[in-house]
């Protein structure tokens, strides 16, 4: 990698630092849609259901806005945009906390298929995912919750033209509602391969896990001699998996900064409204300075998330390292911003009725999903060969 000797990222000429007019318009339209369809009351209603999303909203988001296939090439039924547009979608979804199987199906599973499948498989699988008709997800981690692909133990044994999966996956986003599972498994005790299997196949048992963040549900899935199809034409799917995880990290980082920005806005507006000691609490420097620090924090994390999306979009050779930066920075920022937003709200911030905890919990689940900030910082150092 070009980074070995000069680890400070040389900003590539072709990276854009501002969104285009079209991208801004897209964002505005999206935000309007989401403010309408996913106000906090709706989030609360849906998070209390086992299904966890509203199929009618999902249909509109798929049919009217073509979001699930935003980054899928047109020949596979997508809209043909790239990581930057996907980043915008994620940021807005993070802001509105929409309850929908978007991250699982459009980001995780679709990317895994795009990265790992054969041409024929892509033509077979992607159009329905891009159209929102098929809900897919990606199963990587197992009971130990380790995101390093080397930790994968689930076994795939060749059986005729197919493979039999044996083992347990956990922390599978929307694993209880997806129709199609993409599973990372160890083939022939050696390589990591990606396998596709219908969720209702024989030998697949799924269980919704009780989890802190009810806006993004996770499941444990047990495979017992479950018959799956190998994605791609070799058992070596490690690169495809690794690339998928990096893309997911960039997407999730953008989602997180969207949520953090929303929290900051809510903290600022509360600080302007709440009066103590005869003045708005936002006039006390302890609060004022905290908010200024939160703004700096959020803007810096945004810059990293945006840059990561731009770099990934143009396949800058640095982008996997930058994905690590983005995930770590956005995680830290989101969690800090959520905690401070509660602090600024005082007692009411600790109640169930106040909406802050919805974002707080999403911040928590996103912080550890795909690996904690420490994991990504170490990965960054390795990718830079430090």
């Amino acid at each position: 990698m070009s980074t070995a000797d000069k680890p400070v990222v040389e900003s590539a000429q072709h990276i854009r630092y501002a969104f285009t007019e079209e991208q801004e318009q897209f964002r505005t339209a999206l935000r309007r849609f989401l403010e309408d369809k996913s106000p906090p009351l709706e989030v609360r209603r849906l998070m209390a259901t086992a299904q966890g999303y509203d199929p009618a909203v999902w249909r509109r988001l798929s049919e009217d806005l073509a979001l699930p296939g935003i980054h899928v090439p047109q020949q596979y039924g997508g809209a043909g945009f790239g990581m930057v547009e996907l980043g915008i979608v994620m940021e807005e979804l993070g802001r509105s906390l929409l309850c929908a199987p978007y991250f699982s199906s459009a980001v995780l599973a679709a990317s895994a298929i795009m990265n790992g499948a054969t041409e024929e498989q892509k033509r077979d699988l992607l159009p329905d995912i891009a159209a929102g008709l098929q809900l897919a997800t990606l199963a990587v981690t197992e009971l130990d919750g380790n995101w390093d692909p080397r930790a994968i133990r689930l076994k795939a044994t060749r059986a005729g033209g197919n493979y039999l999966l044996e083992g347990v996956k956990s922390y599978v986003v929307d694993g209880h509602t997806a129709n199609l599972l993409v599973v990372a498994a160890r083939a022939a005790d050696r390589d990591i391969g990606l396998f596709a299997i219908p969720a209702d196949a024989a030998g697949v048992a799924r269980e919704l896990l009780a989890s802190m963040d009810p806006t993004r549900k996770i499941a444990r899935i047990e495979f017992k001699a479950a018959r799956a199809q190998l994605l791609g034409d070799s058992e070596d799917g490690l690169n495809a998996l690794s690339r998928t995880l990096d893309q997911a990290a960039v997407a999730l980082a953008n989602e997180m900064v969207g949520g953090a920005q929303k929290l900051l806005e809510s903290a600022v507006s509360y600080a302007k409204m709440r009066v103590q000691f005869g003045r708005e609490i936002g006039s006390f420097q302890a609060i004022k300075h905290k908010l200024a620090d939160m703004l700096v924090d959020v803007e810096l994390a945004k810059s990293t998330a945006y840059y990561a999306a731009q770099a990934a979009a143009v396949e800058d050779p640095e982008w996997p390292a930058i994905a690590c930066m983005a995930k770590a920075a956005a995680s830290d920022t989101y969690v800090r911003t959520a905690a401070e937003t509660i602090q600024i709200h005082g007692g009411i911030g600790f109640t169930w009725d106040n909406d802050t905890h919805l974002w707080f919990k999403r911040a928590k689940s996103s912080e550890v999903f795909l690996g904690q900030p420490n994991y990504h910082r170490e990965l960054l150092m390795q990718r830079w060969r430090v």
Partner: protein, 414 residues
């Protein structure tokens, strides 16, 4: 938006350099060419030694200069700041008199704002300017005045009305430092350097044509200065990369750096030297310590984020969009980066962080980082003041309750 494209600018500057750049010129002859052609300050208006290019093009010009090793105008320094203020508020006489010699670096400047009694609260200045019918007569004291010992000119904030409210009784002058009524005394800093000074005025004289803007309107001009100062702060910190350097002009530039730029020689260190972090970690083996690795990654991410944020601000500006919050936080982000660097350099260096001088790591550079970083969060407006500005102007939070209204004469002060 301008009609000229980046490629055209690149072509033009490249052609001009091919025609004119010659490392055997004298520095002064070269800088005069820069002033005549406008390539020294391409973002300045055409009639005032610039080319009227949008700010985003400056980087392209700098890149082309760097590619052939051509020397530009002095990047840091108060002269740049004074020039920006004069372009906005100065009279034609003042522009005529001062701008060209800022480009050629024949004159050095200093900023006479802070006083013993007023730093963050600059509008509390008590240095007085009284008109004697012919000239303004200056009495009082300034402090922390960087470069005052080299400077020919100073931008001075002084009180001209003691009965007006604090912000309405100040005027902004250009003062000749080389006159009997001005006494400059160096102040030694905690890092051993003496780049700032105390300046005493005893009936120093300023002719009326050196008043910038109008009498009692000095605060507006000072605010402009401070806004530019925040914006330039990041620039000075950038260590410049250099190509081949042989020829008379480089000798002269080295001499300039050794004298005029002497007060700034520790500035890269005060910004933290993030560029040395990974080299040093490899050098000491600290790159094998998982805790240090975490801290390095955290710091590098922060430093990159600060850089990308600055670029976002510039990109938004060049698209003609209103600048978002990303434009206001550069100085605070730079403080975070500097402090982070000091911490991580210490972790990497370990016990040897106690040493200074020739025996110490990197010939004293690491030690200098550690004792210079505390300046970043003070100079040019403290971190706390930056937070106030962000909170009030960007987030729209309520202002502090005030205790300094009414005639200045009656306000409590040091």
């Amino acid at each position: 938006m301008s009609e000229i494209s980046e490629d055209e600018v690149r072509r033009e500057v490249r052609a001009w350099l091919a025609e004119n750049w010659d490392p055997n010129l004298s520095l002064l002859a070269w800088r005069n060419k820069l002033a005549d052609s406008g390539w020294g300050m391409p973002q300045w208006p055409r009639q005032w030694y610039g080319r009227g290019l949008p700010a985003r093009m400056v980087r392209i010009v700098e890149e082309e200069f760097a590619a052939v090793g051509a020397i530009g105008c002095l990047r840091g320094g108060i002269g740049r700041l004074a020039a920006a203020v004069l372009l906005e508020h100065g009279t034609d006489y003042q522009k005529q008199k001062f701008l060209r010699r800022i480009i050629t670096a024949e004159d050095t400047w200093c900023q006479l704002f802070s006083e013993p009694g007023s730093g963050s609260d600059l509008a509390g200045a008590t240095t007085r300017a009284d008109f004697d019918g012919k000239n303004w007569i200056i009495n009082g004291q300034k402090v922390w005045t960087t470069s005052a010992h080299h400077a020919k000119w100073g931008t001075l904030l002084a009180r001209t009305d003691w009965d007006a409210p604090k912000h309405e009784g100040l005027s902004y002058f250009i003062l000749d430092m080389k006159q009997p009524g001005v006494d400059v005394q160096p102040l030694r800093q905690m890092n051993g350097h003496a780049s700032f000074n105390q300046v005493f005025f005893n009936d120093a004289v300023v002719p009326p044509e050196h008043l910038v803007s109008t009498v009692n309107n000095g605060w507006q001009v000072a605010v402009t200065t401070l806004a530019y100062e925040r914006r330039f702060a990041a620039d000075i910190a950038r260590p410049s990369r250099r190509g081949p350097r042989e020829g008379r002009i480089y000798e002269e530039e080295r001499a300039e750096t050794a004298t005029v730029m002497e007060p700034y020689k520790w500035y890269p260190q005060r910004a933290g030297r993030v560029d040395l972090i990974i080299e040093r970690a490899r050098e000491t083996g600290a790159n094998h310590d998982p805790v240090v690795r975490q801290e390095i990654a955290r710091l590098m991410t922060l430093a990159q984020a600060a850089e990308w944020t600055a670029r976002r601000a510039r990109a938004a500006q060049s698209q003609g969009r209103p600048q978002g919050p990303e434009g206001s936080l550069g100085k605070l982000a730079a403080s975070h980066v500097a402090r982070g660097c000091a911490r991580v350099h210490t972790m990497i260096t370990g016990t040897a962080a106690m040493l200074t001088g020739a025996d110490s790591p990197r010939n004293g550079v690491i030690a200098e980082i550690l004792v210079s970083v505390p300046a970043v969060s003070i100079a040019g407006g403290t971190d706390e003041i930056q937070r106030n500005i962000i909170a009030e102007r960007v987030l729209g939070l309520p202002k502090e309750p005030r205790f300094d209204t009414g005639p200045f004469r009656n306000i409590r002060r040091n």
